[in-house]
């Protein structure tokens, strides 16, 4: 972990001046300057220096709530210093390479390579090439096995760490689960080992003893004769089992009382509160809903307190109440009252990003939000398929939502649906078109009945190809081939006239890669490295995504993507993420999959525990006063 400055660059000018010059020629130079209100002042002599990296541009990374929390969490440790790093956009990255400037942290402009820990958060699979890009720009060997005692320790967390194998070759240690306490354990361990003079390899090995940490170098994979995975083995010769970390009490959990205020307009440019983690609904395609179980709520008191401090310290005027399903917060009414009391002059506005179709708007804050567009996600076109995916939304819910929108004068309504869901038939695709037509009719009818200048809102519908995700009941399912998806999109284009709704769709090629990496094994690391070497980066940005190049990378690596995306897994197959223990039993997931196959719904577990495996930690379960709790009413 050397502390040298920037590499000697071509012109021999001081790095700071050179960076200033580069910024004069790139788009959005404000991405690279730091210096925002509430940014942490770097501590030069900190015992452990962390470069917190987000593998996308500044505007995206700064909107990420997890990064906001952990950045302050680490920096507030007396012995630590934390700085931020985002992926330089293509123009900047190329200019940096040209000028011999290595990746630097925003706060101190010190090279990332000089830090003790380089920590990534990985929120979506399509950021993987950017992780490699950042390591390379930093002058850190991209493969763990090539790093030496001079290199920082590279760790990674975030949603993607729950299925870490595609990145196993590049990350020294993964952290799986809620980071608020785990990151401190990692910091303590590195601090202790560093002061004891332990070599880098020993520090990394020691990290493996921290609950929630997975060190791939010390876990080996045994294969069956047909090449399928037999098991993950720990160094000690026992089967590896990595238990994810869980913060049980969010009221007691760390939360910063400040938030960095960017100069650039970022994606979510507002104060964000997290009402609760987890979701009791049990939609069968939804990974976050399972990964963040059990539901843990923050109290109204904590939330209002956090809101007051953040609004005060940032000068923001907008407050976002976020969670997987905001309408499910147990005391939305009380929260609304308390917030209105705290900010009485009406200058703070609210957004509730994930209100469900079936949630009572009631006296919610939404009415203050001056919203001109509303988003609904029925996810599927027929009741049969909505039942199969356990999206407990009915046609009547959708009709009521559209009526409500007309009454409130909402200008546009966006619908989200998925195509290629397990058990889907042609009828379900047609059902999407019929749903749109039905909503249009209802909107026009209500507008006419109301008169008084009420206009039906403009409808738009986005369809996304289904991506099977680990730890969901659909983790075994196949994804449609690109041809199948394109055929379904063509059907929808034919059936939904542009005047009824504007139709948008996700690129099926991108969804296919998401499917490959979401359920990838160690072999995918090779594909990833090849794709990056062939020039792939910012794959999540439509105009940067190069499917042809990706296919070339698969070919070079001798891997068939359809084996990952389009193959149905059998129930007894050992899955690449099975050694990660999130607390949810595989039997529960399998049972949910079987229920999907026969179109059986599973009610929200606030009405009774479904025995997902988290009974010991679950507050929802103990709150539910049902005798059936603890048994398994979901079994068939």
């Amino acid at each position: 972990m050397s502390n040298d400055g920037q590499r000697a660059n071509v012109s021999g000018e001081p790095a700071d001046k050179l960076i200033g010059r580069l910024l004069e020629s790139v788009q959005k130079p404000a991405r690279y300057i730091g210096g925002e209100v509430n940014a942490c002042a770097p501590k030069k002599n900190a015992e452990v220096r962390v470069a917190f990296c987000f593998p996308d541009v500044y505007e995206v990374g700064m909107s990420h709530v997890g990064m906001r929390i952990l950045y302050h969490r680490v920096h507030e440790l007396s012995y630590a210093s934390c700085e931020r790093v985002f992926t330089p956009w293509i123009d900047m990255a190329d200019a940096m390479r040209g000028a011999g400037i290595s990746l630097f942290a925003l706060e101190s402009r010190q090279p990332v390579r000089s830090f003790d820990i380089v920590a990534f958060t990985m929120p979506y699979e399509m950021c993987y090439t950017n992780v490699l890009e950042m390591l390379d720009l930093a002058g850190i060997p991209i493969r763990s096995s090539d790093r030496t005692s001079d290199d920082p320790i590279v760790i990674a967390g975030g949603v993607c760490a729950f299925s870490p194998e595609p990145m196993h070759a590049f990350i020294d240690a993964f952290f799986i689960g809620d980071g608020e306490d785990g990151i401190v354990d990692i910091m303590e361990a590195v601090r202790g080992a560093k002061s004891a003079g332990s070599p880098r390899a020993d520090i990394i090995r020691a990290l493996g003893d921290i609950p929630g940490v997975y060190v791939p170098a010390y876990v080996s994979v045994e294969y069956n004769s047909d090449g399928s995975i037999a098991r993950h083995m720990s160094g000690g010769g026992s089967p590896a089992r990595i238990k994810r970390r869980l913060v049980a009490d969010l009221d007691a959990a760390y939360f910063p009382d400040k938030q960095v205020v960017p100069y650039l307009e970022i994606v979510h440019d507002r104060v964000t509160l997290e009402l609760f983690r987890g979701c009791t609904r049990g939609c069968r395609f939804c990974q976050a809903g399972i990964l963040y179980r059990p539901v843990r709520e923050r109290s109204v008191r904590t939330l209002v307190d956090q809101a007051a401090r953040l609004i005060e310290s940032t000068g923001y005027e907008e407050l976002s109440l976020s969670s997987l399903s905001t309408g499910d917060y147990s005391d939305l009414e009380g929260l609304g009252c308390a917030l209105r009391e705290t900010f009485p002059d009406g200058r703070v506005s609210y957004s509730l990003p994930s209100l469900r179709l079936d949630s009572e708007l009631g006296d919610s804050l939404e009415r203050d939000a001056r919203k001109n567009s509303v988003t609904f996600a029925p996810e599927a076109g027929t009741q049969r398929l909505r039942d199969a995916i356990n999206k407990g939304v009915t046609h009547e819910n959708a009709l009521r939502a559209i009526r409500d929108s007309v009454e409130r004068g909402v200008g546009s309504v966006k619908l989200y649906c998925m195509i290629g869901l397990p058990t889907e038939t042609a009828e379900d695709i047609e059902g999407i078109a019929r749903l749109v037509a039905g909503l249009n009719d209802e909107a026009r009818r209500v507008a006419r009945a109301l008169g008084a200048g009420k206009k039906p809102p403009k409808l738009s519908i986005s369809v996304a190809p289904f991506v099977p995700k680990p730890f969901t009941p659909f983790q075994w399912a196949r994804q449609d081939s690109i041809e199948e998806t394109e055929h379904k999109i063509a059907t929808l284009r034919r059936m939904i006239p542009p005047k009824a709704a504007s139709l948008h769709w996700h690129d099926p090629h991108l969804s296919r890669l998401e499917a490959c990496f979401a359920r990838g094994d160690r072999n995918m690391a090779d594909v990833l490295e090849r794709a990056w070497r062939l020039g792939c980066r910012f794959d999540g940005w439509t105009e940067q995504f190069k499917y042809g190049v990706w296919m070339k990378a698969f070919e070079q690596a001798g891997i068939d993507p359809s084996q990952y995306a389009n193959r149905e897994r059998s129930a007894d197959e050992q899955l690449p993420w099975d050694f990660i223990d999130i607390g949810i039993s595989k039997e529960y997931l399998l049972n949910e999959k079987l229920r999907a196959d026969i179109g059986e719904t599973t009610p929200d577990c606030r009405g009774g525990c479904r025995g997902c495996g988290l009974q010991a930690q679950c507050a929802v379960r103990s709150a539910a006063s049902f005798g059936a709790a603890g048994q398994n009413p979901a079994s068939i």
Binding site: P29, I33, G35, V37, Y263, L264, T314
Partner: protein, 257 residues
């Protein structure tokens, strides 16, 4: 906070506007836009200022209407990449604080790269800063002495000329023009490898520093007959050091107009 609004420059005879029963007053704020904030755009600056004002707790007035916003404006936007050492913002307040209190609150709330230096309170009827703006001064610092020398040497004779022909390049094409009437002061500081220039800055007539430097280079080349030492594109940084109005033909800092 005490009400003590020195309505120094109000035009007589008009009743000041009111907001929620308060007399409105305007604070003219002089601040610096220094490294690295020279890289933020004008809208970014506006947002940052509004957020700072909200954090400051100052009694800022909002516009009326469906979507009320703070009454904040700037004398003149800076191009991205250019620094300014005496920029001016104009904020409408419900008159409730002194210049000192106002400055102290702003110093606390503004980001480190945008330090406030001075506040002057004026009557709400005070003319718009933009309308009074006549000239701007710049400090143009060259990276290398080699680049600076011939240009600085040429400055005195350049300034003595009756007219200076230059070509202004815009989106719509190239227009020849005479920049001499727009050049009011030009001084060389060899010790700093820098030039100071004060140039016209009105809607009708604006001389950009880049055009001035290009004209100076042409001129110095013609003078020495293609000096081999002179590089084609000298590197320099520009800082806008002041904005001026005019009284009796004399430049007056805009904040004092």
């Amino acid at each position: 906070m005490q009400y003590e609004a020195p309505l120094r420059s109000g035009r007589r005879g008009r009743t000041p506007r009111r907001y929620r029963g308060c007399v409105l007053v305007r604070a003219i704020i002089q601040f610096e836009k220094s490294e690295p904030l020279r890289f933020i755009g004008h809208l970014d600056l506006l947002r940052a200022t509004q957020r700072a004002l909200r954090r400051s707790g100052l009694p800022v007035a909002y516009s009326q209407g469906f979507n009320p916003h703070m009454l904040v404006s700037f004398a003149s936007p800076l191009p991205v990449g250019q620094a300014g050492s005496a920029e001016l913002a104009d904020v409408t307040l419900r008159a409730e604080c002194s210049e000192q209190e106002c400055l102290a609150a702003l110093k606390r709330a503004l980001p480190p790269g945008l330090p406030a230096a001075r506040v002057r309170l004026v009557d709400d009827n005070h003319p718009k800063l933009m309308a009074m703006l006549r000239t701007a001064s710049y400090l143009i610092g060259f990276d290398s002495e080699l680049d600076a020398r011939p240009i600085l040497d040429a400055a005195p004779s350049f300034m003595k000329r009756e007219s200076i022909k230059a070509v202004r390049v815009t989106k719509s094409g190239e227009t020849p023009c005479d920049i001499k009437p727009m050049l009011h002061e030009l001084a060389a500081f060899p010790a700093l490898n820098a030039l100071r220039a004060r140039v016209s800055f009105t809607q009708a007539q604006t001389l950009k520093p880049d055009l001035l430097i290009r004209a100076l280079m042409e001129f110095s080349k013609a003078g020495v007959g293609q000096s081999p030492a002179l590089s084609e594109t000298p590197r320099y940084g520009v800082i806008r050091t002041g904005l001026f109005g005019e009284r009796f033909g004399q430049p007056i800092p805009l904040i004092d107009c």
